[in-house]
Structure formats: structure tokens, C-alpha cells
Symmetry: D2
Subunit: 153 residues, 4 copies
């Protein structure tokens, strides 16, 4: 397997609605199919669905965990990074990614959107916060296209 040509973060809630799970899984698969690695917060909900999608499509997944315990990672994470930083790990999820796809989400996701935009990284959103600078798309496949278009330029 060649190295990923880019790393894309998928951000979203650990306690996810069915539509968020579905969108995250599709986005994770699309990330892997595009030859990119997936980075996320490593837990359940959107994070688990994104990892499952990426692994089923043959991709590589990194989970940057808030706690000290590796076993909190969902089972689709290849490399689990326990940080002990709590929500501070959101900073690292954003730094480890070249671009961010936000799926739904609450305040934790909003912090990742804000940190990514502050760092000048592309943020694509599916049903997430309506923040100036977020490229809103209707579905997962469009999200990955929007991210990659930007990274190619």
C-alpha cells in the first residue's frame, strides 16, 4: 500500500444520529478510495463510522484519543494515539490533517472547524454548523471531491 497522498480528518459527534453515521461511513470510504489517510478522534459515532468506511475501502486510520487509554479506540482504528489531553486533542486532530470534513456535530466539532479555519485549512461540512468559511455540501461523496479539489491546487 503506497503512503496516503493526504490525510483528511472527519469530525463529528460520538453520539451520532443515523444520518450522521451513514454520511460519515460514506465519507470515510470516499477518503480511502481517493488514496487518502483518515484521521479522527478515535471514539464512537461519527468517528467509528468514518473509520469503518475507510477500512472497508482499504484505507488507513488514525485515532487521536482524548484519554490515556488506548482501549477506548473504536475497532477500526489502525493507530490509536492516547493523548491524555481531553478536548485538547481536537487541536491535534486538526494539525494532523490536511483538510477537515465535519459531519453534524456539536461544540466539539465546532472547535475543530474553528481551529482548522484558523490554520487556513479547507473545511467541508455536511449538515454541520453554518460558519463562514465552511464549504457546505449535501452528501459525503461531494465532501471528498471538495476537499481534494482544494488540495490539488
Amino acid at each position: 500500500m503506497p503512503p496516503p497522498r493526504a490525510w483528511i480528518a472527519i469530525a463529528g459527534p460520538g453520539d451520532a444520529a443515523p444520518w450522521e453515521v451513514e454520511a460519515a461511513e460514506e465519507a470515510g470510504a470516499a477518503v480511502a478510495e481517493a488514496g487518502c489517510g483518515l484521521v479522527c478522534g478515535g471514539l464512537g459515532g461519527v468517528m467509528e463510522a468514518a473509520c469503518r468506511g475507510a477500512k472497508e475501502a482499504g484505507g488507513m486510520t488514525v485515532g487521536i484519543l482524548p484519554g490515556d487509554d488506548r482501549s477506548a479506540a473504536n475497532r477500526f482504528v489502525d493507530a490509536a494515539i492516547p493523548t491524555g489531553l481531553g478536548e485538547g486533542r481536537n487541536v491535534l486532530v486538526v494539525r494532523a490533517a490536511d483538510a477537515v470534513i465535519a459531519v453534524g456535530g456539536a461544540y466539539g466539532t465546532l472547535s475543530e472547524i474553528a481551529l482548522a479555519l484558523k490554520a487556513g485549512k479547507r473545511v467541508v461540512g455536511i449538515g454541520t454548523w453554518d460558519i463562514d468559511g465552511v464549504v457546505s455540501v449535501p452528501e459525503a461523496s461531494a465532501a471528498v471531491e471538495a476537499v481534494l479539489a482544494d488540495l490539488s491546487t
Copy 2:
């Protein structure tokens, strides 16, 4: 001087408009007059104005800096904490505060709002992001009242 009864963060842009500077200075003064300590990101603009207001009212100021260099702090910071964490220091500004007052601001301020709300802390805003959970007030004196009302309960 007795120890502060609470620590309030004032968040906002380093490159501030005149109305932001004015509001931040008033909020900083009100924080000090209420017997609270001020924590901020330690740089210029809203951060400097808030510190100036707090010092002129006899308060204590902490500046949590993004870089490694203490001399980046504005001259109204009593305790400058160089962190070398870049925007990651926003996590620490929020953790070091019992509540947050956001004045104007862009993505950095938005990240502090999101992190504070995620942590369950009161966020009061003056002309800032319209985020569900932020208590919007028209002026600085009302901001401090709103913050303190919550901390007393």
C-alpha cells in the same frame, strides 16, 4: 489584595476594531471591579485592552501566550505564560477560566467559544459569533453581570 473570587477569560482578536478595543477595556475593568482575575491570550488588540482595563481597576492579569517568548505579552500582563503551543494555547485559556467573555473576533475566538461551551462553561458575547449557547449582551458591563450571575448559582 485578596485572591480573585473567580477567573474570567476575555477572548477576542489581536487585530481589533475600535469598538472591540473599547468593549474589551470596559469588560476588563468590570472583571477587576467585581473582584475577579483576568485571563487571556496575552497579546494585543482585545487582549491588551482587556488587560489595560483590568490593571487600571486594580485587578490581576494572566496572559497565556502562543509562542515561546515572554516578551510577546502586552505590558498589562502580570503573569505571562509562554506555552509554545500555538493556537493550542486557546485550550488553556479556556481551562484556566471559570467563564468566558467573547468580544468580536474571528476563528480563534470561535474556537475558544466552542471549547468553553463544550466544557460546560458560561460564555457571554459582545458582538461575536451567533452560536447557540452564547449569552449575547449589548455592552461590557452587562457581560460581567451575566457571567457573575451564573457563577453565583
Copy 3:
């Protein structure tokens, strides 16, 4: 009170022997008498003794705490910074200081010694780890002299 002319960290165990407490209190007082601010990990033992010494000599004290809870700070800390970073806060204690005085101590203190030496900062030790680069002195007053001699050059 004029701003501190430098910030000195005093590092050492939270569970301290009587000689460590005595040395830390003397070192804290000497730091304050030299017009410097004191930064430490904010908890008990050496940290508390150093803060007590500094406050009794009219100095200013910062405590960078491992947990999220400000109330864990000893009562001689002027500005308590809860970080939620666990032992990762040792990195911040070192970054916030211009030089480090290590008093006794175990692995946590050793990590601060190592991080300070790595950052090129002067480390003076009293009864602490015998590490190449640490300037060993027999007592607290000599420690502060050794630190200041270096900062003046």
C-alpha cells in the same frame, strides 16, 4: 510592585522530606528577594514551600496545575493555571521559566530537568538528580545566585 525581572521555576516533589521543604522555602524567598517571579507545578510539598517562601518575601507566584481543578493549588499561589494536561504540564512549567531550580525530587522533577536542559535553560540543583549540565549547589541561597549569574550574562 514592578514586574518580575525574570521568572524562576522551582521543581520538586509534592510529597517532600523536611529538608526539601526547608530548601524550597528558602529558595522561594530568595527568588522573590531577587525581584523574580516564581513558577511551579502549584501543588504541595516543594511547590507549596517554594510559594510560601516567595509570598512571605513579597513575591509573585504562578502554579501550573496538572488537573482541571483550580482548587488543587496550594494557598500561596497567586495565579493558578489548571491545564488538564497531567504530567504534560511539566513542559509548560519549564517553558514559563527562564531558569529552573530543582530541589530533591523523583521522576517528575527529572523530566523538568531534562526538558529545561534540552531547551538550553540553566538548571541549578539542590540534592537532586546528578545529571550532566545541572549546576549542583549546597543550599538555596547559592541556587538563586547561580541562576541569576547566568541570566545576567
Copy 4:
């Protein structure tokens, strides 16, 4: 490839002597042959040699970088995590590992040894700092055996 049964950090200097490079490469290979993942600081010298050894033995490698730039990772890193934390990333290398093998090294390595011992993790050393608590072994194969013996209990 099944998930790693444990993650082992290999710590050592980026500017390494020939014996350090050789020991690190052997240790990296032994880590992979034991079915473990390798975590390191992601740069050159000991870190690169350990990753090269692990990859040649079919293992998985994570590099937790000090800077913001993924391209600083050596080419044997599968998952590069740019952190922007400077030496603060040493905290994360230790947290992401179940045990640490230290090869030679200077102050950065010493900080990782101290942080790992503070966290109660096994530290095995090859020609490194003589610190109470470090299990000293003469060569790389023995290092991995010593680490695994401890993790099995």
C-alpha cells in the same frame, strides 16, 4: 495484518552515532517481529533507523512530530502526526506507548525516560542514561525481550 498486540516507543537522538543507528534498527525489527507497533518521534537518526527496521520486518510505524509539517517525518513512518508542540510531543510519544526502549540519547531522550517512569511504564535502555528504574540491556534483541516479559505479566 492483525492489530499490534502492544505499542513500543523507541527513543533516541536525531543525530545518532553509528552504534545507535545499528541498535535502533535491530530494536525496530525486533518490535515488529514480536507483533508490536512502533511509535517514535518521527525524525531522523535513531527514530529513522527504528522505523526502517520495523518496516523491513513488516511492522507498523507511527511518528509523532514536534513541528507542524508532515514532511519532516522520515520515509519509514506510516502515520505521521505533526503536533506543533515542540519537545512537548515527547509527552505524547510516551503516552502513546505501552513501554519505552531508549537508545543512547541526550536530554530529549532523558525527558522521555523520566516521563515514562513517572507514568509507571517499563523503560529498557541500551547505552543510555543510568537512571534508577531503567532496565539496562546490552543489545537490541534483549531490549524487546525485556519489554515483552513485562507486558505479559
